[in-house]
Each structure stands twice: as structure tokens, then as C-alpha cells.
Amino acid sequence: MENNGSVILETKSIKKAFGGVKALVDGSFSCKQGEIVGLLGANGSGKTTFSKIIMGLLHSDAGEIYIDGQPVRFRSPLDAMRKGIVMVHQQLSLIPDLTVWENINIGHEPRTKSGALDDDTARKRAAEVINRLAPGLSLDRVVKTLLPSEQQLVEIAKALSKGGKLLILDEPTAALEQTQVNRLFEIMRELKSQGTTIIFISHRLGEVLEICDYVVVFRNGANVGTVRFEKDGRDENRIVSLITGKEESGQQNGAKDRIRSDEVSLEVKRLSAGMLKEISFAAHRGEIIGIGGLQGQGQEDLLLVLAGMIHVEKGELRVNGKPVKFHHPADAIRHGVVLVPGDRQKEGLFLNHSLFMNVIYARFGLRGEWLIPFKRLREEVKRVVSTLSIRTESIETEMQNLSGGNQQKVVVGKWLPLNPAVLLLSDPAKGVDVQAKRELYELIRDLARRGTSVILYASDNEELVSHCDRIFVLYEGQIVEELAGVEITEDNLVTASLRATVKQST
């Protein structure tokens, strides 16, 4: 059925550049009342820039925006909100030191007649959305103490409570579990039936196919096409080829083309630290080991312990047969154990430093250099940039001017020159698009082929299943199951994760 609602938002050739990097070349777009539009594109295709311009957070260099047919020019988010535009931000827009209910009401606090804060009404308003979206979450928790998935839900709840007529959701599901996603979709459908327009930005194709009426694809900062599901069918391959600009070839599992070496590069014996209890395993040279299970069962802690960021309480670590003790991340790096952290913006990068500096920081944990050999390093960094095909003006470009996918390549790629023995990856593909994800895993497989042991934690089960030789399922800080070879399927992994909870509670 064709939707006959009126056009809510229309944009014409919006342009935006950051320090010479063109983020948006031709941002043209339009959507009608009561539609759910999927906005897709690789990282760096300009989706987030585009939505921030609509939200008044960034100012376009050129182009026009029309709301309800009227030309508008937003100077700040407040202007956009007054027009009924509300956004869920990918980098979240929460105030860490305020509580859940204070955050949900921020910027539109209910007031009493005298102009004071009406906290009772505010709490009620917050309780309403939280009960629907995240039942059981306490309104009085301070936001910085919440899990990433809970923070994401609060961010969504905040937008919902503002009740705009155009809702922009930028990667709202990246940190969520399936049941939470389902609850969100239920609410989205209800809003749609009430006439709200939703722009849904996501890298998860399955979700887009499920919830959207049609998708618009951005590539290299321009609108490259629309796929209307009623007319064109729900054709996944067509969308993917629009995103990448190439014809899609089927997914490949890289785990099968490697032979397991007998040499052990990392051995963990009865290790306990924080929530981790009695963890033992051995990682062979060139092996990719997955860490799976439900969210928050100690997967990230395990990586942090191996990287020397959390101290070992009990147990033993051996790297290439030698017993080691890590007092500091530098110790781990010197032994060739390196970490790609989960939050690249906070822990992995120096956003206001150049790409060059970001790559060479990796070697500062090493000893033995009196002077930094800048000339040689520049060549090395240029090689890394070309090996990984990182899109950048030059190696002197500031990190923050690179797109998310390219930033992620730097976080992984900076370890390449060091030939690490063990590479620890904490959700490396989170919020990274299809193409960048594939390139990233190619790179990881390449490292494994050259003898690096990889330990991978990913929140997306599919990533674990398609890339790992073995998968350990964690529950409450313990390895409760190990999957290998043909046992590695998504079904088995999910079953194992859930079975652990049953075993423990009986």
C-alpha cells in the first residue's frame, strides 16, 4: 500500500566537510508522515552527519531543509526540537552524573505553576516509558553506573518521552539484546500507527528489513538509491550492493581454511580476578578463539586481565611458554599481548591527534628507543594506511576527521607493525558497517594466518560463529561450555548461553 501522508521532511543537496574530508556531498532525502525509513550506508557514508544537521547539532555548508514544506535553518538542537524533531544519538546524549528520571526529562522538565521543577510529574513521565521499554530498571540509578545496554534504553526512553513528530534513531539497537529490540520495535510500530515518522539508522540488515517501509542508502556522502519493499521486494543483496557499490558475493567462513598449530602462544591456568573464576585455556598459534555468552558475564573483564589492565588475583599466565605477570598494560604489550578496546573513542584513540601519532602510540609501551625514528615510522604508517585502505587526506589528518569505520581500522592496524603474539578484540565491529566489518575480519584472519592468536569477544553471535575456531561460553565469570569445529553454529551458541543460566539457577 502506498502511503499518502504529507511530506514531513525534505532536504536538498546538503553539503558538509570536516577539515578537508567531505562527509556529505549530496544529502537529499524526503519522508512522509507515518513512515519508518531505514537509512543505511557504510561508516563514513554521511548518515550520522546528515542526521546531526537535521537535528541542528551541525551546520551545513550548503543545501536546504524543509519541514512540512517550510524552509528551516536550525541554529541549535532547541530549534529542531521546537519543530518536533527528536533524535536518539549513537554516541548517546546522556548526562552521566544525573539519574535515569532526571535524564529522561532533561531539556523539557515539567514545572509547577511557580516555575519550580515538578519532580513528581517528571518521575511519572519517566516511569511510563521505562516500564514499557526497560521494565525493572530503577529510575533512581545514576546513569554512569548503568550497563551500556541500559544506557542505550534510557537514551531511547528520553527521545520517546519528548514525543516528537519526527524521530531519528541512530544505531539504537547496537548495544541491545533481542528481547529489548523486540520491545523497541513494538513501540515503533505503535508510534507509526499514530502518525509519527521514524528514520531508523542501523547496520543490522535483518532489523531494517523487519521494521522499515523502505530504505534509503547513502554512499560516500550522497543518496545513491531507495529500495521500496512493496515495489522492489525485501532484497538483501540489492541493498548490500547499494551500500558497498559492489556486487555482493556470499558470506564466507574463514575458520575452515586454517590448520591448528601445536605451538601454544597463550596459556591461562586457573585464573581468577574480579568476577572471573578459575579460567583455564590454551590458545594456539594462529587460532581464533571466541568468547561468547550472554552480555556482561565477564567477557570484557577477561580481555582486560589478559591485557594487564585488571590485576590477576590468582592463577597463572604463560606467553609462548614463559610465565608472565602483568602489572601494567605496557608489560602485556612487551610480551606481545595487545588489546583493541571496546570503546574506541574513549580507550582506543587520541581523537585530536593525527592518524600518524595514533598509530605510533602503540609502540610507546616498548623499551629500547632513545629517539623516536620519525622518518622510518612515517614510512611504516603509510604502509599500514595502504594495507588497510584507510580513507584519509594524509597521515597528518586528525583522528576525529576520519569516519567511524576508518577509525576502527586504525585501532586494530596500529598493532600490525609489532607482530603481536596475542590479539585481544573487544567487540571490534560494534557500530561498523557491512563492508568495513568484512575488511576488518579479513585483516584479523590475515593476522591469524601469520601466527597471531586472536581472542575475540563480540556481542553479535554471528560474528563469533563465522570467524572462530573455538568458542568459550562464559557465565558468571566461568567458562561453562566450549564449542569447536562443527558444533559452532548460532543455534548451539545461543542454546549454550541460555542453558548456563538454567544450570546455575537449579
Binding site: P77, H89, S93, L98, I106, E109, R111, V142, K144, T145
Partner: protein, 325 residues
């Protein structure tokens, strides 16, 4: 169980360590000074503590909003010399002090406006911007009163030291100042000060007018600093451009000892009050402990480091354990 939970809740408050330090310092002080709990000793102590308490409240509001004010000391100086010069000839004529008060108030809000404008609208780093404005306020104070002088009418000085048992004028002013802050906290501005201090970008994305919030936080801070300036002026009963200088860094120390994060957004203003009392008491303590004068500064520094370490380490541990729970 209920009491246990209550205690746990109290121990999670950011100003909790400052309460512990305060109790310790009071206990030590009481041990060294026999009549420490006598009513008139309490009143005298409070009288001398009042300026730092009020100035620290002002500094706390600014720091909570993500700012910093290195000019509070010379703001006090400028207010002091304005009053001492304008009230010099007032004598017993009560109406004649009004211009002095008005001018001081306009100066205070003006200084808050300038600081808030540079930090909020020009986006200059507050540490340098307020360092620069502090020199301007000091320069103005020296222009108005190049060498110590001026005078405050005796009846005002007496009025400030008015007391009835434990209720004294300084106490009334402190409580009134705190109530002003409570009033602000009940309004959107209060919450926005925390929001901007905690994460300015996020506050902006939520439609908060972050520039205006910063401006107001500096002006509100300067209002409290002005009250501190009144307190000093009525004690000194004369004008001196150097009078406020030492208060700048001391007020920042009081704020941090009081459990307020220097990066903004977390902590309670009452903590700054505790912090100010602690720092004043430390000076008392050194005096009554008969520490030789050449060791006094050294001891003061060491004790402040200790208090600071306690407050900061505690906050770090708390936020960690909260994140894990």
C-alpha cells in the same frame, strides 16, 4: 536492616568523607582547646569561618557547572574597597550606606557576568580567562584604593557580630545563602548546572542553552562571593585591595575536600561548606597545637593533602564500586 540501608545510602553521598574529616578535626580541636564547645567560642569561630564558607559556596556552584573561578579572591578585594570607600563618611546615617551596598552588588554581578561571558559565550578556557580577569579586578581595586584605608560605620560592624546564644548574624547569612542555592536547585537552572558540568555536549544536544547556564552559574557564584566579601569587610571594618587574595585557591581546595568533582557535575554544595570549615579548623589546630611558627605552613600543607587524598580516593572507590554493582 533498614538502618543499615540508611547508613549505606549516607555513606554513598559524595560529601560523606568530608563529614568524617570534619568530625575528626572537630574532635582534635576540642581536645586541644578546652572551651571549644563554649557558646562564645563557637560564635567567634563561625565569625572567622564565614568568609571562606560563603566564597566556597560560590566557587562550588561555578565548579559544579563545569567552570572554575580564579578571580574570586580579587572579586572580594574589589567589593571590599568599594564598600570601604563609599561608606567611609556614612557615620550613623543608615541611608548613607545604601550606595555602598548597591555599588558592591552591581560590581559583583558585573564581574560574574564578565567571567560567565568569557567562559560561556567566548568559550575561553576558564582557568586562563578568570586568571586574567582576576588581575583586572585587582587592578581596579588598587585604582579605587591604592593603599589600605576607608572605613565601615561601626553600627554595621556591630550588627554583623550580633548574636543571641547560638544564633548569630554570620550563621543567619550562611543559612540564607544556602537556602538561595536550594531554591535554585529546585528550578531547571539548578539541574542544568549539573548537566552542563557533567557533559556539556550532551546537555546541548538535549536542547539546554549551555552558554546561558554557564553565564548564570558564574553570576550566581559571584553573588555568593559577594556575601563573603561583605563578611570580610564587616570584620576588617576598613578597605584593603589585598584582603581577598588568599581566598582563591583556598576556596577551590575547600570545594574538592567537600567531595565536589573538579571536572564538574557531581557533588553537593553543602560539601563545600564542610570543606571550608575543615580548612579553617586546620589553621586553628596548628595554632593550638603549639607548632613552632616556622613549621606551621608546612604542617598546614601536609594536612590539606591528607584531607584531599581522603576525599578524592574515597570518591574514586565509590564510583568504581557503583559501576560494578
Amino acid at each position: 536492616m533498614d538502618i543499615f540501608n540508611q547508613l549505606k545510602k549516607i555513606s554513598r553521598k559524595p560529601e560523606f568523607p568530608s563529614v568524617i574529616i570534619l568530625i575528626t578535626v572537630i574532635a582534635l580541636n576540642a581536645a586541644l582547646q578546652k572551651n571549644f564547645f563554649a557558646i562564645n567560642v563557637i560564635n567567634v569561630n563561625l565569625l572567622t569561618f564565614t568568609p571562606l564558607i560563603l566564597i566556597s559556596i560560590g566557587q562550588a556552584v561555578i565548579i559544579l557547572g563545569g567552570g572554575l573561578d580564579l578571580s574570586v579572591g580579587t572579586q572580594v578585594s574589589l567589593i571590599n574597597v568599594i564598600m570601604a570607600v563609599l561608606m567611609k563618611d556614612a557615620g550613623d546615617n543608615q541611608a548613607a550606606v545604601i550606595p555602598g551596598f548597591l555599588a558592591a552588588m552591581i560590581a559583583a554581578l558585573g564581574m560574574g557576568f564578565v567571567n560567565g561571558f568569557t567562559a560561556g559565550y567566548l568559550n575561553l578556557p576558564p582557568m586562563i580567562a578568570t586568571f586574567a580577569t582576576s588581575a583586572i579586578w585587582y587592578g581596579l581595586a588598587l585604582l579605587i584604593l591604592p593603599s589600605p584605608g576607608g572605613a565601615i560605620p561601626t553600627w554595621l560592624v556591630k550588627g554583623f557580630s550580633w548574636k543571641y546564644s547560638l544564633i548569630s548574624m554570620p550563621l543567619i547569612i550562611i543559612v540564607a545563602a544556602y537556602l538561595v542555592w536550594i531554591f535554585v536547585r529546585r528550578r531547571p537552572l539548578g539541574r542544568y548546572i549539573y548537566a552542563v558540568g557533567s557533559n556539556e555536549t550532551a546537555a546541548y544536544a538535549n536542547g539546554v542553552n549551555t552558554r546561558r547556564v554557564k553565564l548564570y552559574s558564574y553570576m550566581l557564584g559571584s553573588f555568593f562571593v559577594m556575601l563573603g566579601g561583605f563578611a570580610i569587610t564587616f570584620q576588617a571594618a576598613s578597605g584593603d585591595a589585598r584582603l581577598g587574595l588568599s581566598y582563591t585557591l583556598t576556596s577551590i581546595a575547600a570545594v574538592v575536600v567537600g567531595g565536589i568533582a573538579l571536572k564538574g557535575g557531581s557533588g553537593n554544595v553543602i560539601g563545600a561548606v564542610f570543606g571550608a570549615i575543615i580548612l579553617n579548623m586546620v589553621i586553628n589546630l596548628i595554632y593550638f597545637a603549639n607548632i613552632p611558627s616556622e613549621f606551621q605552613e608546612f604542617t598546614k600543607g601536609a594536612i590539606i593533602i591528607l584531607a584531599l587524598a581522603l576525599a578524592v580516593v574515597y570518591r574514586r572507590r565509590e564510583s568504581k564500586s557503583l559501576a560494578l554493582s
